[in-house]
C-alpha cells in the first residue's frame, strides 16, 4: 500500500509540515502547481527541468537494475557538462556535427567519472555508495578549480567561454528554455528501456542485479558488467549535463546543478527502477522543483519543503526493497548475502 501511495502520503505529510511552519498548505501547493504548470513559461520550464531529471534518473535506475547504488549522478553530470562546454567552445566542426559531438563529449566525460567508481568496485570491492559520493565532492571542487583557472573563459566570472552557436540547442517555444533536449530525453528513456529488456548486455546487467552468484555460474563476467554499467550510468548523467550546457546555460558555471544529486535517487526509486517509469517520475519531481520557487515567493513557504517531500518519498520507497539488495561491504569476489526464501532456522523442511 505504501508503494502505490508513497508520493501522495509524502505530499500529505508535507502539508503537515507546512502547517507546523504556520503556512497554508492549500495556498502553498496551489502556488507550486500554478508556478510549475500554470503558464507557458512555467510549464516549459518544468519540461526543461524534467529533461535533466530524466537523464539523472535513468542513470541511477540503470545502476539499480545491476544492483549498483550510483549516488554519483551529480558528479557525473557535472563532469559531462564541463566536457560538453569545453568541446562546444573550443572545438569547431561542421554544423551538423557540432551538437552530436558535444553530446558525445558529455557522455564520455560522465562515463569516465562513472568508470572510476565502477573500476574501484570491480577491482577492489570498494563500495560504490561511498566512492560515488566522494567523487561528487571531488568533481564539484575540481570543476570549480578548473573553471576559475585553466579553463576560464571570461574575466568577469568563473565560467567557460560561451559555446559555439552551432552547438547550442535552440528553444522550441520562443522565449522559453524548452529545447529539443526534452524529446531527446524521452527517446533516450524509451531506447534504454528497450535495450535493457532485449539486448544481451541488458540481460547480463539484469542478471547481475538479481544475483551476482547466479551470473557468475552462468558465465557472465561480473566485474565487466559492473564497470560497463557504471560507465553507461555515468554517460547518461553526462548527457544530461551536456543538455544543460547546450540548451540552457551555453557555458559551464556554478549555476549548473544546484544539488540535484539526491533527487536523481528519488526519481529512480519512485519509478521503481523502471526506465520508462522514470519519465513520469522525473516529471513529478520537476513539478516540485520548479514550483518550489513560486511557492516560496507567493506562499512564503521555504522551497526546502521539496527536499522534505523527496526524503519522505525515498523513505516510503525503502520499504519495497526488502533485503540486502545493496551491500555496503564486499570484498573482491565475495558474495552478496541473498536472503533465500526459506528461513534458515527451519532447516531443510
Amino acid at each position: 500500500m505504501v508503494r502505490t501511495f508513497g508520493p501522495l502520503l509524502a505530499v500529505a505529510l508535507g502539508s503537515l509540515v507546512i502547517l507546523l511552519a504556520r503556512g497554508n498548505p492549500i495556498a502553498a501547493y496551489g502556488a507550486l502547481l500554478q508556478g510549475a504548470l500554470g503558464s507557458v513559461q512555467g510549464f516549459s520550464e518544468t519540461l526543461a527541468q524534467t529533461t535533466l531529471f530524466i537523464f539523472a534518473g535513468l542513470s541511477v535506475a540503470l545502476a539499480f537494475r545491476a544492483g549498483l547504488f550510483n549516488i554519483g549522478a551529480e558528479g557525473q553530470l557535472v563532469v559531462g557538462a564541463l566536457c560538453a562546454a569545453v568541446v562546444g567552445a573550443h572545438v569547431h566542426v561542421a554544423k551538423p556535427l557540432e551538437v552530436p559531438m558535444c553530446f558525445a563529449a558529455g557522455a564520455l566525460g560522465g562515463a569516465f567519472w562513472g568508470f572510476i567508481a565502477g573500476f574501484l568496485r570491480a577491482r577492489f570491492g570498494a563500495s560504490e555508495v561511498i566512492t560515488t559520493i566522494m567523487l561528487n565532492y571531488i568533481a564539484y571542487l575540481g570543476v570549480n578549480y578548473l573553471v576559475a583557472g585553466p579553463l576560464r573563459g571570461s574575466a568577469l566570472a568563473p565560467e567557460t567561454p560561451t559555446i559555439d552557436a552551432t552547438a547550442m540547442l535552440n528553444p522550441i517555444i520562443p522565449g522559453t528554455r524548452l529545447t529539443a533536449a526534452f524529446p531527446f530525453a524521452i527517446v533516450v528513456a524509451v531506447a534504454a528501456w528497450w535495450w535493457l529488456k532485449r539486448a544481451v548486455f541488458g540481460f547480463e546487467l539484469r542478471t547481475v542485479g538479481r544475483s551476482e552468484r547466479v551470473a557468475r555460474y552462468a558465465g557472465i563476467s561480473v566485474p565487466a558488467v559492473i564497470v560497463k554499467t557504471m560507465m553507461l550510468s555515468g554517460a547518461l548523467a553526462g548527457i544530461g549535463g551536456a543538455c544543460e550546457v547546450m540548451g540552457l546555460l551555453h557555458r559551464f558555471n556554478a549555476q549548473l546543478s544546484p544539488g540535484y544529486g539526491f533527487t536523481s535517487i528519488a526519481v529512480a526509486l519512485l519509478a521503481q527502477s523502471n526506465l520508462l517509469g522514470v519519465i513520469a517520475s522525473a516529471s513529478f519531481f520537476a513539478v516540485l522543483a520548479n514550483g518550489a520557487l513560486s511557492m516560496q515567493a507567493e506562499a512564503l513557504v521555504p522551497k526546502d519543503l521539496v527536499s522534505i517531500i523527496e526524503g519522505l518519498i525515498i523513505l516510503f520507497a525503502s520499504a519495497n526493497w526488502i533485503g540486502a539488495q545493496f551491500s555496503l561491504h564486499r570484498g573482491p569476489g565475495s558474495e552478496p548475502t541473498d536472503p533465500g526464501d526459506e528461513p534458515v532456522a527451519a532447516g531443510s523442511t
Binding site: V200, T207, R210, R213
Partner: protein
C-alpha cells in the same frame, strides 16, 4: 526399558503451522518421555524441522498446544523454550564463526566478574562439559577454523551446557563420517541414560532402527504412525514415509571400455579461500556414456573440485580437458561453449534467477551462444523452455511466470533441464536432488541417464549414498582432497564406503 511407563515430559497436540498456502504441520500429536530416544522420520518437506522450530519457540503454531510435564506452555521466543528445559541442536549449526569455542558455548550465560566476562571461568566450564561427553575441543580455538565434526561438538556443548531435560537433534548425522556418527550415538545413549528425553530427527532409517526407542513418521505435515521400535521394520517405515509410489527399475546403457574419454582431469590441485589445499592432485577420466559418482563426507574437497572443474575457481595445478581440448585456463564461458555444464545443489543462489520467467532462465548461461546480433534470441529461449517443461511434465507451465512461483522440485527440474539441453558433452551434477521430492528426483535421474546414453559423461557428486548407488557406473571416494578409492556399485555397501569416506583407508 521402563521408559514406556513414564509419563510424557513433552507433549504437543494438534500443532498446525502454515507458511502462506503451504501447510507445513497439520494437526500433529507428538510426545516424548524421559529416558527415551524418540525418532522423528520423514522425507524432506515432511514438516519435521517446522515442528521442532515450533517446539523450540522459533516459530509460533497457528493452532495446537504444548505441554511440559503436564503444564500447558507457550513459547514466544527461544529464551522461553530454553528456560523450560528444551535444548535444540540445529541441522545447520548456529555458531558465530568469528568467536571462539568458549564464547559460543557460553553465549547468553557468560560467567562474569564485576560486569566483565570471566574468560577463565568460561573456558573451565567448557572443558568440564567436554570431558563429560568425551569431546576433545580447545575452548580458545576460533570456530571458523574447525571442521564439521568439531563444529557439531561445539554446537552440542552449547546446548548441553544448559542442562536441558529435553534435547532435540535435527538431522545430526547429515554431514558426519561413519566414525563421527558412532561418536554421536554414544552421546545420545549417554543422554538417555541420564534420564533426558531425546528427539532425534532424521531420514536415515538404518540409524533409526539401531538407536531409537520409539518412532514417529511424518508425511506431508501429518503424523502417519507412531510405534515402538520393536514393532517397526525398515521397509515398512520407508513406505510410510514415501507413501504409495512406484519406483520403476532403471537400466542404464552399459558403458564399455572402448568408449572414448570425454572428460580428463589430471593432477588437479585446488586451493581454498583460506589458502589451504582443498584438492591435492586428482586424476579422473570419464568416458562417453559413463556416470561417475563421487562420494565423500561434506568438506573433503568435492566442492572445490566441482568449482575448479566448472571454472568458478581457478586451479592451482594440473589440467582439465574436454574432448581433447585443454580447458585448464579457459574461462567459465569458454568451458560452457565447449560443452561443459553444471547442475547446482543451490538452485536459488547459483542456478536460477527466481524473478526471471522461464524463457530468461532457459537462456541463462547460453545467452551469448544463442544471441542474434547483440539482441537476446527470445524465440530460442521460449522453445527451449517449452521443451524442458514438456520433458519434465511440469504442470501449470507458463513461459511468462516468474520461476519463483513454481515449487522447489519443479525449479530444480527446470535447472536440470536447462543444463542438459543443447547436447552437452560433460555435466557436473552436484547434489542434484538435494531438497527435492521423490517424484522430481526420479525425473532428474531419468534425465541424467538420458544424457549419458546420448554420449556425454556425467560427474555426479552426492552426499546421498543411495543416489550414487542408483545412478553411478562407478563410485570414487574423496577424502582430504584425494581419491581414497574406487568401487563399483555392487561393492558399494555402507561399510566399505564408510571406511573410505571416514579414514581414507580401504
Amino acid at each position: 526399558m521402563s521408559a514406556a511407563l513414564t509419563p510424557a515430559v513433552l507433549r504437543c497436540q494438534g500443532i498446525t503451522k502454515r507458511f502462506g498456502s503451504v501447510l507445513a504441520n497439520d494437526g500433529i500429536d507428538f510426545d516424548v518421555r524421559a529416558g527415551e530416544i524418540h525418532a522423528l522420520v520423514g522425507e524432506n518437506g515432511a514438516g519435521k524441522s517446522t515442528l521442532m522450530n515450533v517446539l523450540y519457540g522459533v516459530l509460533q503454531p497457528d493452532e495446537g498446544t504444548i505441554e511440559i510435564n503436564g503444564e500447558r506452555v507457550r513459547f514466544a521466543t527461544c529464551a522461553h523454550a530454553m528456560r523450560a528445559g528444551i535444548g535444540m541442536v540445529f541441522q545447520h549449526y548456529l555458531l558465530v564463526e568469528r568467536f571462539s569455542v568458549g564464547q559460543n558455548v557460553v553465549l547468553g550465560r557468560e560467567p562474569s566478574v564485576r560486569g566483565f566476562i570471566d574468560d577463565g571461568a568460561a573456558q573451565a566450564a567448557v572443558r568440564e562439559i567436554a570431558a563429560r561427553y568425551r569431546f576433545a575441543v580447545d575452548p580458545a580455538a576460533t570456530v571458523e577454523t574447525l571442521g564439521v565434526g568439531a563444529r557439531q561438538q561445539v554446537e552440542l556443548l552449547r546446548v548441553l551446557g544448559r542442562d536441558p531435560h529435553i534435547v532435540i537433534l535435527d538431522e545430526p548425522t547429515a554431514a558426519l563420517s561413519p566414525a563421527e556418527t558412532e561418536g554421536l550415538f554414544q552421546v545420545m545413549d549417554r543422554l538417555r541414560s541420564d534420564g533426558r528425553a531425546v528427539i532425534f530427527i532424521t531420514h536415515k532409517l538404518k540409524e533409526v532402527m539401531r538407536h531409537s526407542d520409539r518412532i514417529t513418521v511424518l508425511r506431508r505435515g501429518r503424523v502417519v504412525a507412531t510405534m515402538d521400535r520393536a514393532e517397526a521394520d525398515e521397509t515398512q517405515l520407508a513406505s510410510l514415509m514415501i507413501g504409495p509410489q512406484a519406483r520403476a527399475a532403471q537400466t542404464s546403457t552399459p558403458m564399455t571400455r572402448e568408449s572414448p574419454v570425454v572428460l580428463n582431469v589430471s593432477g588437479l590441485r585446488v586451493t581454498r579461500d583460506d589458502g589451504s589445499l582443498g584438492v591435492a592432485g586428482i586424476d579422473l577420466s570419464c568416458r562417453a556414456g559413463e556416470i561417475v559418482g563421487i562420494a565423500g563426507v561434506e568438506g573433503n574437497g568435492q566442492m572445490e573440485f566441482a568449482e575448479a572443474l566448472y571454472g568458478i575457481r581457478p586451479s592451482a595445478g594440473g589440467s582439465v580437458s574436454l574432448d581433447g581440448q585443454d580447458l585448464t585456463h579457459a574461462s567459465l564461458s569458454s568451458r560452457r561453449r565447449a560443452g561443459l555444464r553444471y547442475i547446482s545443489a543451490d538452485r536459488q543462489r547459483e542456478g536460477l534467477v527466481l524473478d526471471f520467467d522461464a524463457i530468461e532462465n532457459a537462456l541463462l548461461g547460453d545467452v551469448r551462444l544463442s544471441q542474434r546480433g547483440s539482441v537476446v534470441d527470445v524465440a530460442f529461449g521460449r522453445q527451449r523452455a517449452a521443451e524442458i517443461a514438456e520433458r519434465f511434465r511440469i504442470e501449470g507451465y507458463s513461459s511468462s511466470t516468474p520461476m519463483r512461483r513454481y515449487s522447489g522440485g519443479t525449479q530444480q527440474k527446470f535447472l536440470v533441464g536447462r543444463e542438459t539441453s543443447g547436447a552437452p558433452r560433460a555435466v557436473i551434477a552436484f547434489a542434484p536432488t538435494r531438497g527435492v521430492d521423490v517424484g522430481a528426483a526420479f525425473n532428474i535421474y531419468e534425465r541424467l541417464r538420458q544424457v549419458a546414453s546420448a554420449g556425454a559423461c556425467v560427474v555426479l557428486i552426492s552426499y546421498d549414498l543411495d543416489e550414487l548407488r542408483e545412478l553411478a557406473d562407478r563410485i570414487v571416494v574423496f577424502h582430504s582432497g584425494s581419491i581414497a578409492g574406487e568401487v563399483t556399485p555392487e561393492h558399494a555397501d555402507d561399510a566399505t564406503l564408510g571406511r573410505l569416506m571416514g579414514s581414507g583407508a580401504a
